[in-house]
């Protein structure tokens, strides 16, 4: 289903863009790209143009088809999927079949791919120098190769001796730099970066993105940046393409797409992004779920979730149209394009707002008291958690903010009894039984504290139905007669889900079940270890709203572990910032996140994407 024949006046491709530095012919041109898997369409008609020296960000939630689009563009489609459409690199047609001959000279040489995870994209048994050397084109001599590897390492800001080191000897950021050096070895015209910094800490993320931007300028490379992070797309991309259910729903410059979105989905998605500078009483969400691309009929994929939808939207698909006639850069696939100058994003109910907005001020009733907690793992040079004190009041939410390796997760595990601290105490003054510390084998009392983990996909036993999982939790809590469906209702899921298996649930739904399970023993304290970090923004917002409601209704105290400043801002009454096992700063969320006192907190805030 090629859409290449729609209204030519509405095309973004007309090379009349004022940016004169950009070449007339787009470097990469995609028309009517469609990818079909065993179940049906995964990508259902995408047109894209990327010009030399330009960064195009492809933004979308999981299930939007952005990864499959990238695979098609880099000639790496897996077996079992077929792609149709046309692909042109510098005016030359390229076959979509990844086994086709032209790819052998194109892939890696002209089109290069940078992957998300620097921990698995490098071979652990070869030196970094060797791996960069493989990517060099031609057959350079040994000396020549060493020289070029050194030059590449210098270009990505690594010392020459990195060539002799193995990936495991390097940090995540350094590994990603090595991966970038390897990717650049053949001097590609187009770099496709698939979530290149998602696995990295905020500060490292910033450095790696700066590096990519500098290399792009120096080499006049085109970059296609795949990301789920709107803030990152806004700060790094010249143009943004928003994908939804296998379709491109809106394209334009960052400011056009994110500040004046013309497609209702983009508007709603942008609104879901939690702000860094203030706490919203209730975070906007998008009700419903992203449909599978093949499940969408002739109409607009977003129609079912759109309150602006007309009857027509369900039966007729809109091509990409320009909302403002004088600007052919900004296009959106919406039938109501003309009339939706400023799309109203439904405001969250104000009634709940005022109540939720007021941050809790410290009462006199601590629900959790951590004093002088120390945890050191064998064969490490410093304790993972080093003399941490923490106090959590009844009904309060305290955020522990830190990067990976800061010890925040170890702290959480000590609190729930999954790790035994070497020194210090964990006490729950509100529960009848006092305890903590190394006393007996069972250091946890399920009634005192429960935990929700990060990954929704491994949170539930895949072999058990939701009902079985919840019933087991209720039985362990000594309440075997209660209906697991009540727990589901508490977390905003339909009662019928008791019979479902986890695989039939979305990530957000699974995380809600995990919360329901944690609530079974009626804990006073709920520990959330990066509980929303693996979720899409719109889903994330829903789970955060749920946690806020549970806090209010159940007078629950929440200890929230996160690396994400914006999420911390939305959750926290008070914030503890952890760095290398120690709490370097703590105080009310407003104070810590707007006027940080410690240099480390300032550095964290400075590297948040929205700060650029």
């Amino acid at each position: 289903m090629s859409r290449a024949d729609h209204d030519p006046s509405a095309r973004a491709t007309t090379p009349t863009a004022p940016s004169a530095v950009l070449a007339a012919v787009p470097l990469l041109s995609v028309r009517g790209l469609r990818v079909d898997g065993p179940a049906g369409a995964i990508v259902a008609g995408v047109d894209l143009d990327v010009r030399r020296g330009e960064t195009l960000a492809l933004v979308g939630e999981s299930g939007s088809g952005k990864s499959m689009t990238v695979k098609a563009l880099s000639g790496l489609l897996p077996a079992g999927v077929r792609a149709t459409g046309t692909l042109e690199l510098d005016g030359e047609p390229l076959p979509l079949d990844p086994a086709a001959r032209p790819w052998r000279t194109v892939r890696g040489n002209r089109v290069a791919l940078l992957l998300q995870d620097p921990f698995t994209s490098l071979s652990p048994v070869h030196t970094c120098g060797a791996q960069i050397g493989w990517a060099l084109p031609g057959k350079p001599s040994r000396a020549e190769r060493a020289k070029r590897v050194a030059a590449l390492l210098a270009e990505v800001g690594l010392a020459p001796d990195t060539a002799d080191r193995y990936p495991h000897q390097l940090s995540g950021g350094m590994r990603q730099r090595v991966a970038i050096a390897a990717v650049l070895a053949a001097d590609p015209d187009l770099l496709i970066a698939d979530e290149p910094t998602t696995a990295l800490d905020a500060t490292t993320q910033h450095e790696v993105l700066e590096l990519i931007a500098r290399l792009q300028r120096e080499r006049r490379m085109a970059v296609v940046l795949i990301t789920h992070d709107l803030g990152l797309a806004r700060s790094r991309a010249d143009r943004i393409g928003v994908m939804y259910a296998g379709r491109l729903v809106e394209t334009g410059t960052g400011a056009q797409v994110l500040d004046a979105p013309a497609h209702p989905y983009t508007a709603r998605l942008a609104a879901c992004e939690p702000p860094l500078d203030r706490r919203l009483p209730l975070l906007p969400t998008i009700p419903g779920q992203v449909p599978a691309a093949h499940a969408v009929g002739a109409g607009c994929a977003f129609a079912d979730r759109c309150e602006l939808a007309l009857p027509d939207c369900r039966s007729r698909y809109s091509p990409l149209l320009a909302p403002a006639p004088d600007d052919a850069e900004h296009l959106a696939a919406c039938l109501r394009i003309g009339e939706s100058a400023a799309l109203p994003v439904p405001a969250p109910e104000a009634a709940q707002a005022s109540e939720a907005a007021a941050p809790r001020t410290g009462g006199a009733e601590p629900a959790l008291l951590v004093t002088g907690l120390v945890k050191r793992f064998p064969r490490t040079d410093r304790p993972a958690v080093d003399a941490v004190d923490l106090r959590l009041e009844r009904g309060e939410a305290v955020v522990v903010l830190g990067q990976s390796g800061s010890g925040k997760t170890t702290l959480a595990r000590c609190v729930v009894g999954l790790e035994r601290p070497d020194a210090g105490t964990v006490a729950f003054p509100l529960s009848e039984r006092d305890g903590g510390g190394p006393r007996g084998r069972r250091t946890t009392d399920p009634g005192r504290v429960q935990i929700v983990f990060q990954d929704p996909y491994s949170a539930l036993n895949p072999g058990h139905s939701i009902g079985t999982t919840l019933r087991e939790a209720l039985r362990a809590a000594g309440r075997p007669d209660e209906d697991p469906a009540d727990l589901l209702e508490l977390v905003g899921l339909p009662r019928e889900y008791v019979t479902r298996r986890p695989r039939r649930l979305s990530g957000g739904e699974r995380q809600r079940v995990a919360i329901a399970r944690a609530l079974a023993p009626r804990p006073g304290v709920l520990v959330c270890d990066e509980a929303v970090s693996a979720l899409d923004v719109s889903v994330q917002a829903g789970v955060l709203n749920l946690l806020a409601r549970l806090r209010r209704e159940l007078d629950l105290s929440i200890l929230f572990i996160t690396h994400d400043l914006a999420i911390a801002r939305q959750v926290a009454d008070r914030v503890h910032v952890m760095h290398r096992g120690r709490v370097v700063e703590h105080g009310p969320a407003d104070a810590v996140l707007t006027a940080p006192a410690h240099p480390y907190t300032r550095q964290l805030l400075a590297s948040a994407p929205a700060a650029h």
């Binding site: 898997g37 065993p38 179940a39 299930g63 079992g80 599978a292 729930v416 009894g417 999954l418 069972r442 946890t444 009392d445 399920p446 504290v449 429960q450 935990i451 983990f453 990060q454 990954d455 491994s458 949170a459 539930l460 036993n461 895949p462 072999g463 999982t469 087991e472 939790a473 362990a476 809590a477 298996r501 695989r503 039939r504 979305s506 995990a514 399970r517 944690a518 079974a520 023993p521």
Partner: protein, 278 residues
């Protein structure tokens, strides 16, 4: 969103043939004495004859016993022993591996050393020495092999349990206060079934060869008993008069071990898929 996985490929012919062969073998093992009631009847007057002589389809051995009947009767010791070895060592493996993997600490160290020690020793050689010292006998041999086969099972189960134990749903269960034994039975062990079954069958195949080797060497079964390994050893001496006396049991050993292996691989893959798709 449930993505349908590619359909299961059709059962390969080799697997079907293996299954048929093993089905016949199991039947022979169960009903051996009925199928071959005269297998142990000696006919020293007749002595060794070739295939087809006097109604002996594959001839007779040195004692004038019908080679085919003897092979049918020998199926029981060929199958029962290896299955017992595999099950016994897997039981040990499940017990020790689970304890070591889930408890960790000193127990893990002790179990780990036990496995290392046994793995460092050459199994069949050691079995020969031990069985020889203990005076032989089929059941002693089986028992010795159970112990000698256990370290791979211990390690396998331990690794599988450790991999499972770190999963968030297991940790959630721990925080909920569900007892370790229950977590083990309800959450951890069901997910190790594919590799347990796979190794069970692999070990059966290895044990077949090991037991036959020991019988061949005169250890294991009592002299004169119906056993493929024994038959092979005895048959070798009369290769000239009746080659089938050695070839038939030899081929049967190979076929049985291969069939179990093929079936094991196929089953493991199927179970793995089932766990992965649910």
């Amino acid at each position: 969103m449930t993505r349908r996985l590619p359909r299961m490929p059709r059962t390969p012919l080799t697997v079907l043939l293996s299954a048929v062969f093993l089905a016949v073998a199991v039947l022979c093992a169960l009903a051996g004495p009925l199928l071959a009631p005269h297998a142990l009847d000696q006919d020293l007057y007749l002595g060794t004859v070739g295939a087809g002589v006097e109604g002996h389809l594959s001839g007779t051995d040195a004692l004038g016993r019908d080679v085919l009947s003897l092979a049918v009767l020998g199926t029981r010791s060929a199958l029962l022993g290896p299955v017992l070895v595999a099950c016994g060592s897997m039981l040990l493996g499940l017990l020790l591996g689970t304890l070591a993997g889930f408890r960790g600490g000193w127990l893990d160290t002790v179990v780990g050393r036990y496995a290392d020690l046994l793995l460092a020793l050459p199994a069949v050689l050691l079995a020969m020495v031990v069985v020889g010292m203990l005076g032989g006998g089929y059941w002693v041999t089986v028992l010795v092999l159970v112990v000698l086969f256990s370290p791979t099972d211990v390690r396998l189960v331990r690794a599988a349990v450790m991999e499972q134990a770190a999963r968030p749903y297991i940790e959630s269960a721990r925080v909920l206060g569900i007892r370790p034994g229950r977590i083990m039975v309800r959450h951890v062990l069901p997910n190790t079934v594919p590799i347990v079954v796979a190794n069970l069958l692999l070990n059966t195949a290895f044990a077949m060869v090991a037991l036959s080797s020991l019988s061949y060497l005169g250890l294991g079964v009592a002299p004169g008993a119906a056993d493929w390994g024994r038959q092979l050893a005895d048959g070798q001496r009369i290769m000239v008069d009746n080659p089938l006396a050695a070839i038939l049991p030899g081929v049967l050993i190979i076929l049985a071990a291969t069939s179990v292996n093929l079936l094991g691989d196929w089953l493991a893959e199927r179970l793995d898929r089932k766990v992965a798709t649910r």
